[in-house]
């Protein structure tokens, strides 16, 4: 248990500067996707434009509202968040859509529910 607390503290320390918006008593979460061209993940902002505007996803559909728990099988699960990020993202959020055939070839995984 000591260990878990230590890890929780550690992740809290790591995440603290970037996750102000996550604290329960903090100001309302920033509800603005990165501006086109301003961020690396979103090359010309197209990533958030596609998923947010076109696919009408909410930030919370992909971004967790809490730090990832210890034991999340993600390399570097404690990676500090980018500035203004509403929370960490795991691929579980992508599976639903990208596990099935779409009009465009955006299938990266096997269908959800199958093993």
């Amino acid at each position: 248990m000591k260990n878990a607390i230590f890890i929780a503290l550690l992740s809290a320390l790591f995440l603290a500067p970037a996750t102000g918006a996550l604290a329960a008593d903090a100001a309302p979460a920033v509800k603005k996707a990165p501006a086109p061209g301003s961020k690396s993940m979103a090359e010309k902002g197209s990533y958030h434009r596609l998923h947010g505007k076109k696919e009408k996803l909410d930030c919370e559909d992909c971004h967790e509202t809490e730090p990832l728990p210890p034991g999340t099988l993600k390399l570097r699960y404690y990676k500090p968040l980018a500035k203004d990020s509403p929370g960490p993202v795991t691929a579980e959020a992508c599976h639903e859509c990208h596990g099935k055939e779409q009009k465009k070839k955006v299938t990266w995984y096997a269908p959800k529910g199958k093993k």
């Binding site: 260990n3 210890p70 034991g71 099988l73 699960y77 691929a91 599976h95 990266w108 093993k115």
Partner: protein, 230 residues
């Protein structure tokens, strides 16, 4: 012939030798590790235990990272003949899609400048080796993605020397992380050959791949400790 790895969580005691040796073997870039130790507790008092789960690239049969990279036309990721999934740093545009699509969050995007090992002290250790003198997988670049290669430089050498049968056995041809484990929790070899040591051990132990539900068919197998996540 298809190389794969077995990691026995029942044996792993979390010493991180595999992480440390990877850092030296593969010219560790701070902030972009290739091998990490995920650690968590399972069970309830008084039967609590810690699970140590070393994680690197799973070198999937159907890599999701490659699927996105191909989809956007960049094609910087390739699946090589013997299994390793390799990033071409010259083609990578640094969009970071692969890292976010990978079920295991493996590909690591370097920052605008490669972080120095020892800030303010100039080039330290392997940093001092000129880029051009290194294997292509060690020619690190800013704003480019990097990840575990299954020590591709060693496998390539084995192929050149005609010693592919010695992979997983000889030091020169075996990934460093698998060599240094003091409790033999790691194994590397040909998972295609049912007669190989690794294939036999996977079968004996009932080792599984992590997050199988994504269907990417990883080439790294884990012997799970009771209660461990998969």
């Amino acid at each position: 012939m298809k190389f794969g790895r077995l990691i026995d969580l029942k044996r792993c005691m979390g010493c991180r030798s595999c992480v440390a040796v990877c850092a030296t073997e593969n010219y560790f870039t701070p902030g972009s590790p290739w091998n990490v130790m995920v650690e968590y507790e399972v069970g309830a008092y008084p039967k609590v235990k810690t699970i140590y789960n070393p994680m690197g690239c799973m070198h999937c049969e159907k890599p999701a990272c490659k699927a996105v990279c191909d989809y956007i036309g960049v094609k910087a990721i390739r699946k090589t003949e013997f299994g390793p999934v390799i990033v071409d740093y010259d083609k990578c545009i640094g969009c970071g899609y692969c890292g976010n699509t990978c079920p295991y969050g493996v590909p690591q995007l370097n920052g605008k400048k490669l972080a120095p090992l020892s800030p303010g002290k100039g080039a330290v250790g392997s940093e001092a080796i000129p880029l051009a003198a290194r294997h292509p997988t060690h020619q690190k670049k800013a704003q480019t993605v990097e990840k575990c290669t299954f020590c591709y430089h060693k496998l390539e050498q084995a192929a050149v020397d005609g010693k592919l049968d010695r992979v997983g056995k000889d030091q020169a041809y075996t990934p460093s992380c698998d060599l240094v484990c003091p409790v033999q929790a790691r194994m590397f070899g040909d998972i295609d050959d049912p007669g190989s040591d690794i294939a036999k051990r996977i079968k004996e132990t009932g080792a599984v791949q992590l997050k199988k539900e994504f269907g990417t068919a990883p080439q790294v197998f884990y012997v799970l400790e009771e209660g461990a996540k998969s």
